[in-house]
């Protein structure tokens, strides 16, 4: 695998990921983009605010890439999370993988977003009209 791109940024540029993953040895590229949705549990969401323990989050993201590349033959990987205030439709995370065959890029991409949500120290606050809630904080 080539050196992965692992970043925490203010703003995600979705147009650059294809160039970052394009690869002569790859026949398949799978990209997942997480975006801000306008409703949660029937309540209208105004925006999300993301906060990261940046140094640790980058280490945990690197572990996810290492785990995925041990499980599947990956050629190029991008894993990039945004922080700060994000409005409806804005991208908050982008994960992309290029592999020789399509099965591995789908499976690895899915593994990486699922694991990121479980282990990477990033927190999301949902802003509603009259309140704000740290997601998953309470049972």
């Amino acid at each position: 695998m080539e050196k992965p791109i692992i970043e925490i940024v203010e703003t995600i540029d979705t147009t650059q990921v294809y160039d970052e993953l394009s690869d002569a040895k790859s026949g398949g590229i799978c990209v997942f983009i997480g975006t801000v949705r306008d409703f949660t549990d029937n309540e209208s969401v105004i925006s999300l605010e993301f906060e990261a323990y940046k140094s640790m989050a980058l280490k945990e993201m690197a572990k996810i890439v290492d785990q995925a590349s041990a499980k599947w033959p990956l050629n190029k990987v991008v894993i990039r999370h945004a922080v700060g205030l994000k409005k409806v439709k804005e991208p908050v995370v982008i994960i992309g993988v290029s592999t020789a065959h399509r099965d591995a890029c789908f499976t690895a991409c899915r593994y990486m977003i699922d694991t990121l949500k479980e282990t990477v120290p990033i927190w999301k606050k949902e802003m509603f009209k009259n309140k704000s809630v740290w997601v998953s904080a309470h049972p």
């Binding site: 323990y53 990121l116 949500k117 999301k124």
Partner: protein, 80 residues
Amino acid sequence: MEIILFGIARDIVGKSSLDLSSYNEKPHSVGELIHLLNDAYPDFNKLSSLAVAVNGEYASLEAQIGQKDEIAIIPPVSGG
């Protein structure tokens, strides 16, 4: 000994870090630190989970902590 706080942990304590130097009983392990936090700020007991990172790695309850470690409270993560 300074503890870094994120997300709802910062909201519960009311600041982005907690200085334990004024406390009589300093925690020597992650478990003791969590116990101390639960006592001092009962809202920590209401969280779905509570982890502690020592020098940027998730630490077990038995992990020892000292003056020079970077210690952070990790409330339930919700990235992505």
